[in-house]
């Protein structure tokens, strides 16, 4: 994973709450077996509407999405994060993220920055009044900057550290392989195994 310390790019105001992952990427695009190439699928339903924010310049060149609360609810599909990244987004700002979406973002190097709704309202106004204004997301100081607005954001320490170091999760865990093996030796006998397969006949 690439290291991220700070990112600055055009902010995209998405004045909507409860943006679920079915909106971020409709299920019909989940049939692919690759991990990249989902840029066309991002908000595919909404992009059919020419007034949708990503169909307007300069927002179509945006890389920081500023959304309403409860972003990324619903389905666990990591494709939602892949689609945002493939389109060019490096960070999403919201007052509240769904847990699975936030986890998926951290694994894929997309910054999910939790900013108070009051500050988001100010950033929305700034981005709407001055299209093309950039938003900076700085992991070191945990602040977002937009025009004259500066606001703190929350992100858990562990995710922040991994993003800033660009660490691979599986590699980290495999350093503890002995502990996993030791745990396995102590698991109760009655715990089920899928193999050999038993069926009701």
């Amino acid at each position: 994973m690439e290291k991220i310390l700070t990112h600055t790019g055009i902010g995209v105001p998405l004045r909507q709450s409860n943006v679920d992952t079915d909106q971020i990427i409709p299920a019909v695009y989940l049939k692919r077996i690759t991990r990249t190439g989902f840029e066309d699928a991002l908000f595919a339903g909404w992009r059919r509407d020419e007034n949708f924010i990503l169909n307007q310049a300069p927002y179509n060149k945006g890389s920081v999405l500023v959304a309403g609360p409860d972003f990324g609810t619903g389905s666990s599909r990591e494709h939602a994060v892949w689609a945002l990244k493939d389109y060019g987004f490096k960070a999403v700002i919201s007052a509240r993220f769904a847990d699975i979406f936030r986890g998926n973002s951290g694994k894929q190097g997309l910054v999910a920055a939790e900013v108070a709704q009051g500050d988001i309202e100010l950033i929305w106004k700034e981005l709407e009044n001055n299209p093309g204004t950039t938003v900076s997301v700085d992991l070191e100081s945990r602040t977002v900057q937009c025009g004259s607005i500066s606001a703190p954001f929350q992100i858990d320490d562990y995710t922040r550290w991994r993003l800033m170091e660009g660490l691979d999760d599986i590699g980290l865990t495999l350093q503890q392989e002995d502990a996993i093996t030791a745990y396995e030796a102590k698991r109760p006998e009655f715990k089920p195994k899928t193999l050999p397969a038993q069926t009701a006949g």
Binding site: R77, D169, T194
Partner: protein
Amino acid sequence: MSAMQSPQTLAEKVWNAHVVSPGEGEGEARKPDLIYIDLHLLHEVTSPQAFEGLRLAGRQLRRPDLTIATEDHNTPTLEIDKPIADLTSRTQINTLRDNCKEFGVRLHSLGDKEQGIVHVVGPQLGLTQPGMTVVCGDSHTSTHGAFGALAFGIGTSEVEHVMATQSLSLKPFKTMAINVEGTLKPGVTSKDIILAVIAKIGTGGGQGYVLEYRGSAIRSLSMDARMTICNMSIEAGARAGMIAPDEITFEYVKGRPHAPKGEDWDAAVADWKNLHSDEGATFDAEVFLNADELEPFVTWGTNPGQGVSLSQNVPSPEDYQDENDRKACERALNYMGLTGGTPMKDIRVDTVFLGSCTNSRMEDLRAAAAVIKGKTKDPNVRMIVVPGSARVRLEAEAEGLDQVFKDFGAEWRFAGCSMCLGMNPDQLEEGERCASTSNRNFEGRQGKGGRTHLVSPLVAAATAVRGTLSSPSDLAASPVAV
């Protein structure tokens, strides 16, 4: 562990029993615990990129014997003996088959007697048991919490992580008690409980929490009904939902293909009997609901929190103080083609869908069949009945339920996720309105432009008779079976 340990919640007990190594540090700076995973469920949609990741890194699947796969999201529910018509769907299914073969994973393919929706298959085989940790690249993994398991959905990166390490790095969840006391009225089901819970706490209310459903109304529910409740925990934003196991749970598990046997059974039950929140255990949050007051509950909008009792009216934007809420209501009404103030019971539907990992088990099919038996379907409504698994389909046919549905004029399909999500041929047309026993009423969820009302199987059945959103009590002289 000392006998004087402080009281723990159910979720904490299961968590603590699975810590491979605790995270270093204190307070906010504490790193995640490494948690062991007892069962990993796979399906075709969220696994291909994870298998590919393993291959590219030259890593092994650590525990094929704790892993099982089935085909459900993409699969058609008609003509399942023919090759899948949609090429990308077919490729995804074939990719799963190739991957399972290469990595030695047990797979129940389309046409197999154990194939079905992943969250129906696990419990049915007896692979889901109390006190386990269960994960799957699917948010409705919360279903398995009905057994007192800690079960939650994960993204594809985490799927790959579990494949390689049989563990996950996680920060402990907070706990929320959902207390439901009292007795449900006839015609009110566990689906109505969970829809009412979501409307009460909101789609973000459960974020960061494991919900534990407790109280007399929960304890009286069957396993099928408990699975319906836990299934939709994610719609309240919660990662997982749990119910303490009891005799009803043990009775369900006993004798299933992968249930412990002989001495193992006794050891298991002795262990499972400790799986409840201790007297004096503290939850981070608590919610109370009176079961006596609940009525059939249905959604009017485009997220599962936008619901009301069936006897109420569609809300109006003016009902909301907050500007963002008002806009959300306006937008939802516009998408749904509804006007504020319309009685819910006046809403006419085109389609009724009985199925999905929420409501496709035997009890759901029996309840719906009892409502429609001997009645005539509204001629303008199409009804699709999709059993959750091939096994459920066989059982239902052995009881003659298929005939009840067919006589009524409903379509009796093969098992799969079907119309719950627009990934297979079963989809709504643009503007089509559906009373659906599934779990999500998001824009376009059941097909581009489709409009979804989430309902219980009883409401689905009564709606198919009348053509408008209805409960069994709206049907003249109809004895209600549940």
